[in-house]
């Protein structure tokens, strides 16, 4: 019903390019997450879809209708703003009611809808308050309730959970996903939080400096990163990236000497995830170094190894302990190694 297409969309602010040549197809009922560091153009992309910002170039289509120039009001989109944007002069109840009132929802249906939305975000007891009398997290939930109180064609959510504590965030995450599935509304969701991205998304769009780096399911993004940026951005801790050289089928860097796919040579960056390697029995090590730090996290222990001058993160069993500066040998899973071109950062696929 409401797919979203961005065709060669560019947004310029004077000479500065906020969003570069963006092509993106969002399917109907899809939950799409925009993920990327601060300032990479996530909010700008959303604002263009919402109609609050006109693209400098390119077309945006919602439900296969070109919406360039169509007023935000007529796009039937609901948005949670990064800065909440609650109406300060209205109570929370009135805030949530505003979209219903403006869209002409019959009066006798309004109350039930408002209470359902408020209960979903656990704000039922605060409906009489003005936004100024709420905490940051409560305001954020009020903004969320205002967006989900009606059934738009598209939900746009700009970091709607960033100000909540871990527990509430986890429960809201489940609620948002449940609601989206139930209402079957196409959703674009911005976050910095990888866990949020991984758990919510049908597909994730990783962005950097206004450019899409990779689009894919959470699984693809995690296990098949397209370049060093994606590899280094996803996962906590993220993928280890080690620059080295490939000569006659071997990747060589300080502390590492392992087999590399035959077609490569020259400057290559090796990537492997902390969870894809382990402490090696002596003599089988792919990587050797000294123990730099140990961080027990409860269910596992993260080990920082110094190989040459490069720090490498390794996930070890939770009872693993080793003295600092002792030698450590790490076994790398050959099936889970990633090679990137050091010059371009692009992935070098071994299948080719």
């Amino acid at each position: 019903m409401a797919s979203i297409h961005l065709d060669n969309v560019v947004k310029r602010y004077g000479a500065f390019v906020g969003v570069k040549e963006m092509n993106l197809q969002i399917a109907d009922e899809e939950f799409l997450v925009l993920l990327g560091p601060s300032g990479c153009g996530k909010t700008t992309t959303m604002r263009m879809i919402a109609g609050l910002e006109e693209p400098s170039e390119g077309d945006i289509r919602i439900a296969s209708e070109v919406v360039n120039g169509l007023d935000a009001r007529d796009r039937d989109v609901a948005m949670v703003f990064q800065g909440y944007a609650l109406y300060p002069n209205m109570s929370i109840y009135e805030n949530i009611r505003f979209p219903l009132r403006m869209r002409g929802v019959p009066k006798n249906q309004q109350d039930a809808l408002i209470r359902r939305a408020a209960d979903m975000v656990e704000l039922g007891d605060f409906l009489d308050r003005k936004p100024a009398a709420l905490s940051g997290g409560q305001r954020q939930r009020a903004a969320l309730a205002r967006a989900v109180v009606r059934q738009p064609q598209v939900f746009l959510m700009d970091e709607p959970l960033s100000n909540l504590d871990a527990k509430l965030r986890a429960s809201m995450r489940v609620q948002i996903k449940h609601l989206q599935r139930k209402l079957r509304i196409t959703t674009v969701y911005v976050t910095h939080d990888q866990i949020e991205a991984m758990t919510l998304a049908d597909r994730i769009v990783v962005m950097s400096r206004g450019e899409i780096q990779q689009v894919g399911t959470p699984d693809e993004i995690y296990s098949d990163p397209a370049n060093t940026f994606v590899a280094g951005f996803i996962g906590s801790p993220p993928m280890n990236l080690i620059e080295g050289q490939v000569h006659s089928g071997r990747f060589i860097a300080p502390g590492i000497d392992i087999a590399a796919p035959g077609h490569m040579h020259g400057n290559v960056t090796l990537g492997f995830r902390p969870e894809d390697c382990g402490i090696a029995p002596d003599g089988q090590a792919g990587l050797t170094g000294t123990v730099y730090g140990i961080e027990p996290t409860g269910d596992s222990t993260f080990l920082t190894i110094l190989a040459g001058d490069k720090q490498v993160e390794v996930k070890a069993p939770r009872d693993f302990r080793a003295p600092l500066d002792s030698c450590a040998s790490i076994a790398l899973d050959p099936a889970r190694l990633y090679f990137f071109d050091s010059a371009t950062g692009q992935r070098m696929r071994s299948t080719q």
Partner: protein, 284 residues
């Protein structure tokens, strides 16, 4: 010495303020209980006030002030609000807003003479309307009560709308743009946004502007003095003009002081009411 220094710094300002407001104020209150005949002050108790309450000219002047000032203030606010709402995003207006203050910078008496020329002596406006074919003969603006009042209203609106405009533009520019954008996404059209969002958020600013302008307008004098002299039949005589007439035409200083004191009380009380109302539900 160190402890005294701050007091020393504010002393000139305080002295100045006290000498031009508090001293004359107390003097006026004191004087309002006397019948003043040149050098001779005869205590009359509250006679001045009693007489004032029975004086139809006084009540007339109060009513005139209310009508002329009220309409002018309402028109100024409305005009300034609408203009500000449509103009505040315009970069040109942001850059050149100081230009809009020009009418306020002109000398009030000069402006009054200009309007006097336009409406009455020079008949510029009649002439323009005639050339446009809207009327067939000169309008005598001082010949009818509504028209005479209209000339004062027009003059005041011309001179003071920009002042309110600037204040409202600043208030709107200070508002969080995202809030208006949220309202647009929620389906509100501009009149709904203006009415439901922007206007309530501007309430305190509007209140302050209305008070400032209101106080100024209740003391409207220059235009009356130069343009109408209270004609026709005292229907454009404002309170200030009434006080001036009692004091400096008939030298009835005690009586004029009593009128001024009553005016002061009315002004303070109404300002207080507006402030209370406007800021009551601003927060919490």
């Amino acid at each position: 010495m160190r402890a005294l220094f701050p007091y020393l710094l504010v002393a000139p300002a305080v002295t100045y303020l006290l000498s031009i407001t508090l001293y004359p104020g107390i003097y006026a209150i004191y004087q309002s209980f006397f019948l003043v005949r040149f050098n001779e002050w005869i205590p009359v108790g509250t006679d001045n006030y009693v007489e004032l309450f029975a004086d139809t000219e006084f009540w007339g002047a109060l009513l005139n002030t209310l009508i002329i000032g009220g309409i002018a203030l309402a028109v100024e606010c409305l005009l300034a609000l609408v203009l500000a709402y449509f103009a505040y995003r315009d970069p040109f207006i942001r850059g050149w807003r100081i230009v809009f203050l020009m009418p306020m910078l002109f000398m009030p008496s000069a402006v009054a003479f200009l309007w006097k020329l336009a409406f009455n002596d020079g008949r510029v406006i009649s002439d323009l309307l005639m050339r446009l074919g809207l009327i067939s003969q000169n309008i005598d603006f001082l010949g009818s009560v509504p028209l005479a009042r209209l000339t004062l209203i027009v003059a005041d609106v011309w001179q003071w709308t920009p002042f309110l405009f600037i204040i409202f533009v600043a208030a709107l520019q200070g508002q969080d743009q995202e809030i208006e954008e949220a309202a647009r996404l929620d389906g509100a059209r501009w009149p709904q946004i203006f009415w439901n969002i922007s206007l309530p958020m501007m309430r305190p600013v509007i209140a302050v502007a209305v008070i400032l302008r209101g106080i100024d307008i209740t003391t409207m004098f220059t235009n009356v003095y130069i343009m109408t002299n209270g004609t026709p039949g005292g229907t454009t005589e404002t309170i200030s003009y009434f006080i001036y007439r009692q004091g400096f035409r008939t030298f009835n200083f005690g009586y004029a002081s009593a009128a001024a004191v009553i005016m002061l009380i009315i002004t303070v009380v109404s300002a207080q009411l507006i402030v209370k109302r406007a800021f009551r539900s601003g927060r919490a």
